[in-house]
């Protein structure tokens, strides 16, 4: 699974690409949780740019649950942005749109976490 990462003010934008399923979810978990840990310590939010994700399975969604829990307990912030229509539907059907905050685009996400501009 490919990732790109870039700083954006008081946030870090992590963009995974491809499918997040049983075969890639461990890699996704390790990358997201590690980034959330370092970002929280640096008082930076994590924005997951999902524009390159074309499928997410239950195993991938579980990683977002773990990230949301970790953020809650450590005082960090993790949000998701720019979901493709199919992935947005998967979030809605699984009720994960109620677990993590979803924004229509990365700029909206950065504005919401106070990292815009």
């Amino acid at each position: 699974m490919e990732f790109t990462e870039r700083p954006a003010g008081k946030a870090v934008v992590l963009a995974p690409a491809g499918r997040i399923d049983m075969s890639t979810s461990e890699q996704f978990r390790d990358r997201v949780l590690a980034l959330l840990d370092t970002s929280t310590k640096a008082q930076q939010a994590v924005v997951l740019d999902f524009s390159g994700v074309d499928y997410i399975s239950s195993a991938g969604l579980r990683v977002l649950m773990l990230a949301a829990k970790q953020a809650r307990t450590s005082g960090g912030t993790v949000v998701v942005a720019a979901l493709q229509p199919v992935v947005l539907e998967i979030f809605q059907i699984s009720r994960f749109d109620k677990v993590v905050t979803c924004h229509p685009g990365v700029s909206e996400a950065l504005a919401a976490v106070g990292a815009a501009g």
């Binding site: 239950s58 969604l61 059907i93 699984s94």
Partner: protein, 320 residues
């Protein structure tokens, strides 16, 4: 017919949930408003009109707890679990038997109340001449059935039942030839353990997998369920919660979700997923919404093998 028939007598999870008078009244109001302007003056026209109404208006998913029947020509009568749906299942069997002695083979997923509570109301058990064999993998199988009819919980002791009742301990992971089916039990994650069953007969396969939580991080367990469901014609699946609830606030409650049901059936190339063990707090409209969403999920994530998705309801019959 040598083909299998699957009949759902009880589809509700955890506890029976009856339709209330208010719920029925709301359905009638919807139906009458929809009927305005139609010329419905015969029962035949009314039935035809009813077929055009949305499912939660024209039907109810029903409220009995788990009981499913397998039927096939040349095979003995098989029941899966003895939830409150066992009461109408027993009465229907007696009607079909018309006074002849019956042979019943009952497979138990586990021994929680909602899965055994129908047995004291399973009329064939009281009638001499009928033979009932109860299969399961729990060591306390017989004890659980006897205990629920012991004082002060029930007025008729188990020992007063007139049918010949036997308990048969099964070993999970091993195929048996029982009642005309090749059957194997599989351990599942649930408080006190539960067991799924895979039934094969005449080239058809039905998997009954209720009260089963799936740990998404345990890939070996996921692989074992893919194998258990492999190319099944029908998978009856515990879809009690949303995925978000099943792995957060209701983690370790022993149940699964529609999302995991779709994924496992897709990976196993199963043909038909039946959502089962409905949350008792859900009304008909909510279950129907979950059903439509699950169909949509299957559609947008479909690979080479489509999976038909149905929400079970009391009275549903599926021919394989």
């Amino acid at each position: 017919m040598d083909n299998m028939q699957v009949r759902f007598w009880g589809t509700r999870g955890s506890i029976p949930a009856a339709l209330t008078a208010q719920m029925l009244r709301d359905k009638l109001v919807h139906a009458l408003v929809a009927a305005a302007g139609h010329n419905i003056d015969t029962a035949e026209k009314a039935r035809a009109f009813t077929d055009t109404l949305p499912f939660p208006i024209s039907h109810t998913f029903g409220g009995n707890s788990s009981c499913v029947e397998l039927q096939a020509d040349g095979a003995a009568r098989v029941l899966l679990d003895m939830g409150s749906g066992a009461r109408p299942a027993g009465l229907d069997a007696l009607r079909q038997l018309a006074g002849k002695p019956g042979e019943f083979h009952i497979f138990m997923s586990h021994l929680h109340w909602d899965h055994i509570m129908g047995f004291p109301f399973f009329t064939p058990a009281y009638i001499p001449g009928h033979s009932i064999r109860i299969y399961g993998c729990h060591a306390e199988l017989e004890h659980a059935f006897r205990r629920q009819q012991a004082p002060p919980s029930f007025p008729v002791d188990f020992s007063k039942m007139g049918a010949r009742i036997e308990f048969v301990q099964l070993e999970p992971g091993r195929y048996y030839e029982i009642a005309g089916y090749r059957v194997m039990a599989k351990p599942q994650a649930h408080g006190g353990d539960s067991y799924g069953y895979r039934f094969e007969r005449g080239g058809k396969t039905v998997v009954y997998s209720t009260d089963s939580e799936h740990k998404l991080e345990d890939y070996a367990e996921t692989d074992s369920f893919i194998e258990f469901f492999r190319t099944a014609d029908l998978v009856i699946f515990d879809a009690m919660y949303s995925l978000a609830d099943a792995i957060s606030v209701k983690e370790d409650w022993g149940h699964s979700s529609n999302v995991v049901g779709v994924e496992l059936c897709q990976l196993a190339q199963a043909k038909h997923l039946v959502l089962f063990h409905h949350e008792p707090a859900y009304d008909d409209a909510t279950i129907e919404r979950v059903w439509r969403e699950t169909q949509r999920l299957e559609e947008i994530t479909r690979g080479e093998h489509p999976v038909q998705v149905t929400a079970a309801y009391d009275g549903l019959q599926i021919a394989l």
